[in-house]
């Protein structure tokens, strides 16, 4: 993915660390000790836009200093270094401001997919604006009718000369209303089996033919959007990968998605995404309710801490295993599964510790006052980024090699696949 420079050209990791540290301390302001990215917080839209604008500035700051795209080849504006360098940079960034809100899904899976499958021309054109913070990308993968079956996309692209005409709807895109580009999986052939008739396209989210609507979550958060594509025209030059070979792209795409902040393309201070709402959240609730000396609460604190530590240890083991080839790419599902299950458990623990404050609270209750609304959103840890059910399918079938689940959509033209109890097939 990231072509290494010749060995002798690569800066030593420790010397890179010193350089990064000097620059960060001199040029980056102090940030919140812990982040709350992707936690479905309810914030006013103007605040959200201000945060995104600030993240773009920070991304540009990193770019200008030579710290953006650390693992991206220099030919596309990156630094051509290694995952170890990126890790060091993330370590040094702890405690400082960062562009964390615009790293996912722009850097992974979108940038990662572009680097894997983009033509030379596409990489030259798309990658530098990403590294400069000028282009924020979204993944247009899920559909309202689709659930876990992303390859069952109904969004259709029909060729018209040098262009494609797209119609359909995509959903669960984070912040599409303030983003710039979308990477979209669409059906280009209904007469072949499900996985064989897909193609990937890129297009600007503010193009004519794209309507973006925010989705309100039950807690009032509007982090997600749904897009409606109506006769959207996309030049063939913005097709990513081969026609009807979109599932080859899609498979890597989902692998990159499961990497999350472990991707070497992502610049986020070490521990930021990991820390929030897990163990630290439990500890905050215990402190704000004055219960840290209750042995029962300590039992739960111990469990939450155990889950968080083991989750991170497992993530490291899986990442190293995949990097070394000791584990298959599909093993990323193991860490994803544990992340989801432990996440809902830690959330439940926080709610239990909150006690009556979880039912009703005032601002004076501090962190404990968030436990109730957070608990309502508990399952998001097992839904977002691929459900735990899909992870269990992947682990049992692709890692353990057990027989594939029977599907009624394999080996038949997608047009004929049942999509509802009435036998309706569009």
């Amino acid at each position: 993915m990231s072509e290494r420079r010749e060995e002798y050209q690569i800066e030593d990791v420790e010397s890179f660390r010193q350089r990064a540290r000097s620059w960060i301390t001199a040029h980056v302001g102090h940030g919140e000790p812990r982040g709350d990215i992707g936690m479905f917080r309810v914030i006013p839209q103007e605040d959200e836009l201000r945060q995104i604008a600030r993240d773009r500035e920070l991304q540009r700051l990193f770019y200008d200093a030579g710290f953006a795209g650390i693992c991206v080849p220099t030919a596309y504006g990156g630094q051509g270094l290694t995952p170890a360098h990126q890790r060091v940079f993330n370590e040094e960034l702890v405690g400082y401001e960062h562009a964390g809100r615009i790293q996912l899904p722009t850097m992974t899976p979108c940038l990662a997919v572009l680097l894997d499958f983009g033509t030379e021309e596409q990489k030259q054109r798309f990658v530098p604006p990403i590294l400069k913070g000028e282009a924020i990308w979204m993944q247009l993968l899920s559909e309202p009718s689709g659930g876990s079956d992303v390859a069952g996309a109904l969004t259709t692209a029909v060729r018209d000369g040098d262009e494609w005409i797209l119609n359909g709807s995509k959903v669960w895109t984070t912040g599409a209303w303030w983003s710039d580009w979308g990477l979209c999986l669409a059906r280009t052939n209904w007469e072949v089996a499900k996985h064989r008739g897909l193609t990937v396209f890129a297009f600007p989210l503010h193009a004519e033919g794209v309507e973006v609507q925010q989705i309100e979550m039950l807690n009032g958060s509007k982090e997600f959007c749904q897009e409606f594509l109506t006769d959207l025209r996309v030049p063939d030059a913005d097709r990513i990968g081969e026609v009807d070979d979109g599932w080859t792209v899609g498979t890597r795409w989902m692998f990159h998605e499961r990497m999350l902040q472990n991707s070497p393309l992502v610049t986020i201070p070490m521990g930021v995404v990991r820390g929030r709402a897990g163990f630290d959240g439990v500890l905050d609730v215990a402190r704000d309710t004055g219960r840290v000396n209750d042995p029962l609460v300590r039992d739960l604190i111990g469990e939450a801490r155990m889950l968080e530590v083991v989750r991170d240890q497992l993530q490291d083991r899986v990442s190293e295993g995949i990097a070394s080839g000791a584990m298959s790419d599909q093993s990323a599902g193991i860490a994803r599964l544990f992340h989801g299950v432990s996440g809902t458990r830690m959330n439940t623990i926080a709610f239990e510790v909150a006690g009556g404050v979880g039912a009703a609270w005032t601002d004076a209750d501090g962190s404990a006052g968030r436990a109730g609304l957070d608990f309502l959103m508990r399952q998001t840890a097992q839904i977002g980024g691929g459900t735990t059910e899909m992870a269990r399918n992947v682990i049992s079938e692709r890692v353990l090699g057990m027989p594939r689940e029977r599907t009624l959509d394999r080996g038949v033209a997608f047009r004929g696949v049942p999509r509802g109890p009435t036998g309706r097939t569009n």
């Binding site: 899920s142 309202p144 689709g146 659930g147 876990s148 079956d149 069952g152 959903v171 669960w172 989705i215 309100e216 979550m217 039950l218 009032g220 997600f224 029962l296 809902t344 439940t348 709610f351 239990e352 909150a354 006690g355 009556g356 404050v357 979880g358 039912a359 009703a360 609270w361 005032t362 006052g369 109730g372 609304l373 608990f375 309502l376 959103m377 508990r378 399952q379 998001t380 097992q382 839904i383 977002g384 459900t387 735990t388 059910e389 269990r392 689940e405 029977r406 599907t407 009624l408 959509d409 696949v417 049942p418 999509r419 509802g420 109890p421």
Partner: protein, 376 residues
């Protein structure tokens, strides 16, 4: 809910179900998300006419049950409240009504509660809060904060329990008019869409001895019974909400296709539905048995309501969240109905003692029961 209802009970239940379907449909609930009250007084008054507020009151005092077993009857209403995620101060008002009926004091107030023209809030919780109450001549003086108090912002009266006497061990209950000097009501935030809670502060509040429910120092047994009654209603309501979430999700599993097959055909999901079904039926069972024990003032009523609260709190939450999981992303959107039931189950799980609190209480009751203590 009971497997078999009498025809009177069935009619009574259906009347409330139809009323709620008409006057508290899901879109109406969504509209009330920012409403500081959460329900209309007129809605409440009409519900009272259907019997929502009279079941725990004797006929002599203007109430009356359907089956002669008012505690069982009110679980039917609470269950429908859960199935509809309905607004209204059902538990809190009925607890106060039961208290006044039991003590035989403040009958004019009780009359207003039964008619639905007046609202009263029961201010107590699962555990004793730090709250000071003392008798000063012919007055009772109150100092402290009670929270969360359901519908505190709408209440005309507050039922407040405290400890009096030289030893501080006598339990006294007073009914404090909202207008009393020194009473401050501060709204709280909550997980529910239509239920509202307040923090109620009593700053040197003075009420005459005539405000005492029953007599000074006679409130200990009554306070325990009120907690049992409240738990019975919360449990029945949660079971109704569990049932609604479960039914909705079973239907979804049949209708939703993935990889060319309905979700209901996937064995792993089927088995989770089987687990949910077992939790759901168990929740019905334990809720009903506890209600009957409270109705009968059985000696094990305290343990049985705690068993039910601990079980329904824990497994109810697991059930509604697995329903969310089955729905995927759509299940956590505001537009979908599922969260209405997730909220109600979540609310009731945290009110009046969490599962952990009640497990501790069960252990205490079991270990202190002489019969069991002697078996080893």
């Amino acid at each position: 809910m009971l497997l078999e209802l009498s025809s009177d009970q069935q009619f009574f239940r259906e009347t409330t179900a139809k009323f709620l379907a008409e006057f508290a449909p899901v879109d109406e609930l969504r509209r009330r998300r920012d409403d500081p009250v959460g329900f209309d007084r007129d809605y409440w008054k009409r519900g009272a006419e259907l019997g929502w507020t009279s079941l725990l009151v004797s006929e002599a005092n203007g109430g009356g049950s359907i089956s002669g077993r008012g505690v069982v009857d009110i679980t039917l209403i609470a269950n429908e409240f859960g199935r509809a995620a309905a607004p209204g101060p059902l538990a809190t008002t009925n607890v106060v009504a039961a208290a006044l009926n039991d003590a035989g004091t403040h009958l004019p107030v009780l009359e207003g509660l039964i008619a639905g023209t007046s609202i009263a809030s029961w201010c107590d919780g699962f555990a004793d809060d730090a709250f000071a109450m003392r008798v000063d001549g012919d007055e009772i003086v109150l100092d402290g904060v009670k929270r969360p108090v359901e519908s505190g912002s709408e209440a005309d009266h507050f039922l407040v329990t405290g400890r009096t006497g030289d030893d501080g061990l006598r339990v006294t209950q007073v009914l404090v008019p909202r207008s009393t000097a020194g009473v401050t009501v501060e709204p709280m935030q909550t997980v529910d869409l239509t239920r509202r809670f307040s923090s109620v502060r009593f700053d040197g509040v003075r009420v005459p001895v005539s405000a005492v429910i029953g007599e000074v120092g006679d409130g200990s047994d009554r306070a325990q019974r009120l907690l049992q009654l409240a738990l019975v209603m919360l449990n029945a309501e949660s079971v109704g909400a569990m049932q609604a979430a479960f039914d909705m999700t079973v239907e979804w599993a049949f209708d939703r296709y993935s990889f060319g097959r309905p979700l209901a055909s996937y064995q792993e999901l089927k088995h989770r539905f089987a687990d949910m079904k077992s939790w759901l039926e168990a929740a019905h069972a334990t809720s009903d048995v506890a209600a009957a024990a409270v109705q009968d003032r059985s000696p094990d009523a305290g343990e049985l309501v705690s068993v039910a609260k601990a079980f329904i709190g824990q497994y109810g939450a697991e059930l509604v969240h697995d329903c969310v999981q089955m729905h995927g992303g759509i299940g956590v959107t505001f537009e979908h109905d599922l969260h209405l039931f997730v909220r109600r189950v979540t609310l009731n799980r945290a009110l009046l003692g969490t599962p952990m609190d009640h497990r501790q209480r069960i252990a205490t009751l079991v270990l202190e029961t002489p019969a069991r203590a002697s078996t080893t």
